[in-house]
Amino acid sequence: MACLHDHSCEDHNCAADWSLYNHVDIPKVVALNESVPGSVKSVFKPWEQRLDTSGGFLESNEGDPELLVFIPFTSDVKIKSISIVGGADGTSPSRMRAFINREGIDFSDAQNMQPVQEWELAENLQGALEYQTRYSRFQGVANLTLHFSDNFGGDTTKIYYIGLRGEATQNKRDVVATIVYEVMPNPSDHK
């Protein structure tokens, strides 16, 4: 389910739509099987910069095209559609499976569990394609896990941009996090 932008794409229009990246809790974004730890943070950026790779991009390890991206949000969001910009030469992901509000998913879990929604992706080097979600299932999302299980035959999978379109509510799902009372002062906590 893809729709192309058939109107002349004035940047500011589209940019306003794809603004859910503001609500992504970027320091807590985690990816499994990435070749450069921490590079996943660079794929969340404004719409205008979706093709800009100067900040780095997400690449999987050699010989293993699977990628798992865990995206927490700072408040609950409703996701309307997702856009993915992949790499050239078969390194674009071909299949995407989404899980909602589950922490600590790893590859064996992702392969066995039934996803909330699954998409077949096409090569999308310009970022013109977006994949709509079943909106009723994507209400009140506190964190989103995307599992890219396959690509178009490349050795690795490259992702330059993940765009999310939707609305942010002001609700927060888990307000009380684990609290540690300091019985013993730990200098590394206060750096």
């Binding site: 985690v30 499994l32 099987n33 390890n61 790893d106 590859f107 684990t178 540690v180 013993m184 730990n186």
Partner: protein, 385 residues
């Protein structure tokens, strides 16, 4: 998650008292260090051999439970490394706090029967699931074991989070060798427990600047550092002034010594009043002290003094300075260089003025001043003040 090797190879006694005991001590130490370094850390223990690959205690932060489970372990059978790592991964996967980083610490004392390829696949799988691996290679060492294990670590390693330590048999206990490795010190660069244990083991807290653990007493460490910088700045100023003086005065080297020493002395006294410990940098001050002794006095006594001072300086640089000054005085009583200082009446009067309760116009003081000339013993008078 700690994997213990309790196979038949652990009966060997090349690590005192036996390989298994040494391993058990090391495991206890690691558990203590991990639980202390962060209250949210959890540690689990499992065996690789014996009755089979089984988890003795699931990851918990309760140190007592962990130590208790090590009790009564039997040695026997063969270690199954691949199965053990799989089970460890599973145990870590089902941890209660999903935010914790996953790490496996494996003690491998028996020979490794797997191929390098198999180990590399295992390593890649660990890396894919973001599990770090630390290996302690001890005990049996056939030709290929170190390479195989290095290949495994290379496959798992991502940004230096996995380590391997090879411990050859010898006098050092396994736990002592491990104390200084990154397995203990972790990635933050030292927990208080591990660091202080390492310092104690290394006889003398030479690991820390100024001999004080900044974790234990940060204020004292800060005060020591500040006073050392102050002292350094003062020494530099003195050296600069001394350099100027050498151009002006006739007796170049001796007066250089005089002014440096006269000023170094109140500086030392002031520093003594402030702090009990002298945090002087050994090398810095020792160089200066040796240089000063080289310039003044007869060379013979100076070299003897140098040897004595080098030893004393290693112990206490403050003592070194005092020794050097007294040596200088012994040398100079014949030269009566010090007395030249007192020839400068205004200098002496100014000092006397600064002393409480001494009136320079008092006749007894004037008599004393008159007798000062040509006498070296007056320096003791100044020392007491």
């Amino acid at each position: 998650m700690i994997c213990i090797d309790n196979s038949e190879w652990m009966r060997n006694g090349d690590y005192a008292p036996s390989r298994f005991q040494a391993q058990a001590d090391a495991v206890n130490l690691i558990c203590g260090a991990k639980t202390q370094s962060n209250p949210e850390n959890t540690v689990g223990v499992m065996t690789m051999a014996g009755k089979g690959v089984r988890v003795l205690v699931t990851p918990t932060s309760d140190l007592g439970k962990i130590l208790a489970c090590m009790h009564g372990l039997e040695v026997g059978a063969e270690a199954n490394l691949a199965a053990a790592i799989q089970v460890a991964q599973l145990a870590l996967k089902h941890r209660q706090n999903k935010r914790q980083q996953q790490r496996i610490i494996a003690f491998i004392g028996s020979p490794v029967k797997y191929d390098k390829k198999v180990l590399e696949t295992i390593g890649k799988k660990l890396k894919k699931n973001n599990v770090a691996l630390d290996i302690v290679d001890f005990g049996e060492s056939d030709d290929e074991k170190p390479e195989k294990l290095e290949a495994l670590i290379a496959a798992v390693n991502s940004s230096d989070s996995s380590h391997i330590v090879h411990v050859p048999p010898g006098d050092n206990a396994l736990s002592d060798v491990l104390l200084s490795t990154p397995i203990f010190t972790g990635e933050e660069g030292g927990s208080g427990f591990a660091a202080s244990a390492a310092a104690a083991a290394a006889t003398g807290a030479s690991g820390f600047e100024f001999g004080v653990d900044p974790n234990v007493d940060p204020e004292l460490a800060l005060a020591l550092r500040l006073s050392m910088e102050e002292e350094r700045a003062r020494q530099e100023a003195i050296a600069k002034k001394a350099a100027e003086d050498t151009e002006n005065k006739d007796h170049a080297s001796s007066s250089n010594n005089d002014s440096v020493m006269a000023e170094a002395e109140p500086a030392t006294n002031a520093a003594d009043d402030d702090k009990k410990e002298q945090p002087k940098d050994d090398d810095d001050l020792l160089q200066q002290a040796l240089a000063m002794s080289m310039e003044g006095g007869s060379s013979g006594s100076a070299s003897v003094a140098d040897a004595a001072m080098a030893e004393a300086g290693a112990v206490d640089p403050d003592l070194a300075l005092a020794l050097q000054m007294s040596v200088q005085d012994a040398n100079m009583s014949s030269d009566s260089d010090m007395s030249k200082v007192f020839e400068d009446r205004s200098f002496v009067t100014s000092i006397l003025n600064s002393l409480p309760g001494v009136d320079p116009n008092d006749p007894s003081v004037k008599d004393l001043l008159a007798s000062l000339h040509g006498q070296g013993e007056v320096r003791s008078f100044l020392f007491l003040s």
